[in-house]
C-alpha cells in the first residue's frame, strides 16, 4: 500500500498543474465548473491538444495510453483549480469507448480523433418516452432498407443534443425477434434531414437536455455498430463505460463542492454545532468516496476488471451531492430564495440540478438492483 504519488505520478501532477495555470481562461475560472456547457470549446480543444482529453485511450486512437492513475490525477487537479471538464463527455466516456470496442477501422478513423479535439460533440439517445430504466423497451424504429437504414421515432432527455454533431442511439431493428435480440445500435448525424431537436427546460430553468425526433432519417449502413440485432450488447458496452469511468469524475466534482461549502461556511462564520457537524460529515463522505475510488483504481490497474466497490460510487455520490447542496442553502438561510442578483446563484442552481443526479445515468433504484444482483449475488427482483 502506497497512497503517495510515485515519482512519475508526481511529475505528471506537476505538469497538469502548470498546464492549468497557463491555459485556464480566467472567464471560465470565474464561472467555475458550474455547468458542463460552461466549458467552452477552446478550453476543451486545448485539453485535447495537450493530450489530456483521451488520457487512457490507446495511442493508436490518438490517446495518451496513460495509466488510469493519470486520469485520476488529472481530474483531481481540474477539481483543485475548479476548472471545467472537457465538453465532449459523452464522446469521451461513452461513444468513443463503444466505437473502440465495436467499430470498424473506418469508423475509428472517422470519429475518434475529432472527439478528442472537441471538433465534434456527441450525445446519447437511449431514453424514450416509454423506455427509460427499461432500455430494452426502446421502440424507435431502425429499419434496414438494403442500402441504408430508415430511422423513425423519438428520444428524450438527451443532454447536449442541441449542440451535438452525432448521436449514439439504440432502437428496434428486428421487431419480430425476442427482447434483447431485437435491438440495433447506430450512429446518427445530428445534421441529417429529418432530425429535429427540441430543448426541454429543466427544473433549474435551463434547457440542458432535449427531445429528439427522427422522421424518415436516412442513416448510411456504415453507421452501424455491431450487427443488426446486436444493439443490446453494444448498449451494455456504452453503459459499462458510462458508470465505469464515472467514479473519479464524480469525486472530483464533489471535491469542488466540498471546497466551496467550506469556503462558504468560513465566509459566513458558521458556529452552529449542528451545521458544523454536517459540514464535517460531507468532508468525511468525500474522503470515503475518494479512497473507495482509489481502491477500485488499484483493482482495475492490477486485474483489468473494476472491483465491486466501484459500482456503488455513483449511487453514493448522487446522494452526497444532494445533501451537500441543501446544506449550503441552509447556511445561506431564507435569503437563498432571492434571485435579485445578490450572490451568483451558484448553490441555488447546484441544489436543483442535484435532484437529477439520482435519475441520470441509471436511477438509484436501478443501481441498487445492480449492486444487489451483480455484486451481492442476491436473487433477481424481476
Amino acid at each position: 500500500m502506497e497512497l503517495r504519488d510515485t515519482p512519475q505520478e508526481a511529475a505528471f501532477r506537476q505538469e497538469v498543474r502548470n498546464f492549468i495555470a497557463q491555459n485556464l481562461p480566467s472567464s471560465s475560472k470565474a464561472r467555475g465548473a458550474r455547468r458542463f456547457e460552461d466549458a467552452d470549446r477552446d478550453w476543451s480543444r486545448k485539453l485535447g491538444e495537450a493530450g489530456y482529453a483521451g488520457l487512457t485511450w490507446p495511442k493508436e486512437y490518438g490517446g495518451a495510453g496513460a495509466p488510469y492513475s493519470h486520469q485520476a490525477i488529472f481530474l483531481e487537479e481540474l477539481a483543485r483549480a475548479e476548472a471545467p471538464s472537457h465538453l465532449g463527455v459523452i464522446g469521451l466516456g461513452m461513444a468513443g469507448p463503444t466505437i473502440m470496442a465495436w467499430g470498424s477501422p473506418e469508423q475509428k478513423e472517422r470519429y475518434l480523433s475529432k472527439i478528442l479535439t472537441a471538433d465534434e460533440i456527441w450525445c446519447q439517445g437511449f431514453s424514450e418516452p416509454d423506455a427509460g430504466s427499461d432500455l430494452a423497451a426502446s421502440r424507435t424504429r431502425i429499419d434496414d432498407q438494403g442500402d441504408h437504414f430508415l430511422v423513425n421515432g423519438q428520444k428524450v432527455w438527451s443532454s447536449f443534443a442541441h449542440i451535438a454533431d452525432f448521436c449514439i442511439i439504440v432502437g428496434l431493428g428486428l421487431p419480430d425477434e425476442p427482447r434483447y435480440k431485437n435491438l440495433t445500435y447506430v450512429i446518427i448525424d445530428m445534421h441529417a434531414p429529418g432530425v429535429e431537436v427540441r430543448p426541454l427546460v429543466q427544473i433549474t430553468g435551463h434547457p440542458e437536455f432535449n427531445e429528439i425526433f427522427f422522421t424518415d432519417v436516412k442513416v448510411p449502413k456504415e453507421n452501424l455498430l455491431g450487427t443488426v440485432g446486436e444493439g443490446w450488447q453494444v448498449a451494455m458496452t456504452t453503459l459499462l463505460h458510462e458508470r465505469g469511468t464515472l467514479g473519479f469524475a464524480l469525486s472530483a466534482t464533489l471535491d469542488v463542492a466540498v471546497r466551496k461549502l467550506i469556503a462558504l461556511a468560513q465566509e459566513r462564520n458558521v458556529t452552529d454545532p449542528i451545521l458544523r457537524d454536517r459540514i464535517a460529515r460531507e468532508w468525511i463522505e468525500l474522503q470515503a468516496l475518494k479512497y473507495t475510488n482509489y481502491r477500485s483504481l488499484t483493482t482495475l490497474t492490477k486485474t483489468g476488471i473494476p472491483g465491486p466497490e466501484g459500482s456503488a460510487s455513483k449511487l453514493v455520490w448522487s446522494e452526497n451531492n444532494q445533501r451537500l447542496t441543501k446544506l449550503a442553502l441552509e447556511i445561506l438561510g431564507s435569503h437563498a430564495q432571492l434571485t435579485d442578483g445578490s450572490g451568483d446563484g451558484y448553490w441555488q442552481y447546484q441544489q436543483l440540478r442535484s435532484r437529477g443526479n439520482t435519475i441520470e445515468a441509471g436511477t438509484s433504484e436501478i443501481l441498487r438492483n445492480i449492486v444487489a444482483e451483480r455484486v451481492l449475488g442476491l436473487p433477481r427482483s424481476r
Binding site: A280, Y291, A372, G377
Partner: protein, 282 residues
C-alpha cells in the same frame, strides 16, 4: 498510488480468518505462537499488518486484549489493556493498564457488568501507577484506527449473515432477498461498510506512515466505521425477522460490540466537531 494490501498481507488475512473460524477466542499464548504478539514492536511488520489482524479479530468477535496490548506498545512480557473513557476492557485478562496520562497501573479494580458481555470491562482501583513509554496522541491514533478496523470486520460480517439468510429464506413463495425493500436496505448497509473500509485502510496507512493527515484520517475512520457497523447490524437484524431478535442468534453480539465501538473514545459527533474545527479554521 497502490491502495491494496501486499500478497503477504493477503496471506496473513487468510491465515487469520481460518484460524479464528476454528478458534474465535484464542489465548494470548496461542496468538504468541502464531507470531502475532509484538507485531507492532519493530521487526518486519507495520501497522498495516496489524490492521489486517484487527479487522479479522473484529469479524470473529474476538473477546480478548490482543489489540489493546499491541497498541499500548509497552516493553516487557506483561499483557496490557488501555483505559478507554474511564473503563478498562478485558481487565481480568491483563496484568497492566495504560491510562491516557501515560501511566501504567497493575490491573486491579472492580469488574463491571456490561451489555456486550464479551468486553470484560473493569474500573481501575489501584494507585501504583508509574510512568509508561510513549505519547498518548500516538496511542490514541492507533486505537482509533484499530477500533475503525474492528468495526469494519463487524459490519461486513453482519451484512454477510443477512445476505446468506435472505438468499435462503422464502415468504410468499419467493426468496425474501428478491424483494427490493430487503435487497436495497442491505445494499445501503453494504455500501456504508465498504466506504468506511476505505477510510479505515486510509487511516491505517496514515498511522503506519505517520502521514500529516493522520489526525483527520483516524477521526473520520473511527466515526464513520463504527456508525456503519451499527447500521449494518440493524439492517441485518431487520432482514432476519424474529430470529434476528433472539439471544440464540449471534447477531445481537455483533450489534452490541458495534454499539460499544460507536461510543468508545467518543461518538461520531465528537470527532466531527474536531474535524470541523480543523477544516473551518484554516
Amino acid at each position: 498510488m497502490d491502495f491494496s494490501f501486499t500478497s503477504e498481507q493477503d496471506d496473513l488475512r487468510r491465515e487469520a480468518r481460518s484460524f479464528l473460524e476454528a478458534n474465535p477466542s484464542p489465548s494470548m499464548e496461542q496468538l504468541a505462537e502464531l507470531g502475532w504478539v509484538g507485531i507492532l514492536q519493530g521487526g518486519d511488520f507495520t501497522f498495516l499488518d496489524a490492521a489486517v489482524l484487527f479487522e479479522e479479530l473484529g469479524r470473529a468477535l474476538y473477546d480478548g486484549p490482543y489489540a489493546l496490548n499491541e497498541i499500548a506498545g509497552q516493553p516487557g512480557d506483561d499483557v496490557w489493556s488501555i483505559e478507554i473513557d474511564g473503563l478498562v476492557p478485558h481487565m481480568d485478562q491483563v496484568s497492566r493498564v495504560l491510562t491516557p496520562d501515560m501511566r501504567g497501573s497493575s490491573a486491579h479494580g472492580d469488574s463491571l457488568t456490561t451489555v456486550d458481555e464479551t468486553l470484560g470491562l473493569g474500573r481501575l482501583a489501584s494507585n501504583d501507577a508509574v510512568a509508561a513509554h510513549g505519547e498518548w496522541v500516538d496511542v490514541e491514533r492507533r486505537l482509533l484506527a484499530a477500533l475503525a478496523l474492528e468495526a469494519v470486520g463487524i459490519g461486513a460480517k453482519a451484512i454477510e449473515l443477512a445476505l446468506a439468510y435472505v438468499s435462503d429464506r422464502e415468504q410468499f413463495g419467493k426468496k425474501i432477498g428478491s424483494y427490493q425493500a430487503i435487497s436495497h436496505s442491505l445494499v445501503d448497509g453494504y455500501v456504508a461498510v465498504e466506504l468506511s473500509r476505505s477510510l479505515a485502510y486510509w487511516a491505517a496507512w496514515c498511522v503506519a506512515e505517520d502521514d500529516e493527515q493522520v489526525g483527520l484520517a483516524v477521526a473520520a475512520a473511527k466515526s464513520q466505521a463504527a456508525e456503519a457497523a451499527v447500521l449494518a447490524c440493524e439492517k441485518s437484524i431487520q432482514a432476519h425477522g424474529g430470529i434476528g431478535f433472539t439471544w440464540e442468534h449471534p447477531l445481537h453480539r455483533y450489534y452490541k460490540r458495534a454499539l460499544w465501538l460507536e461510543g468508545a473514545l467518543g461518538y461520531g459527533r465528537e470527532h466531527r466537531a474536531e474535524i470541523a474545527a480543523s477544516l473551518l479554521s484554516s
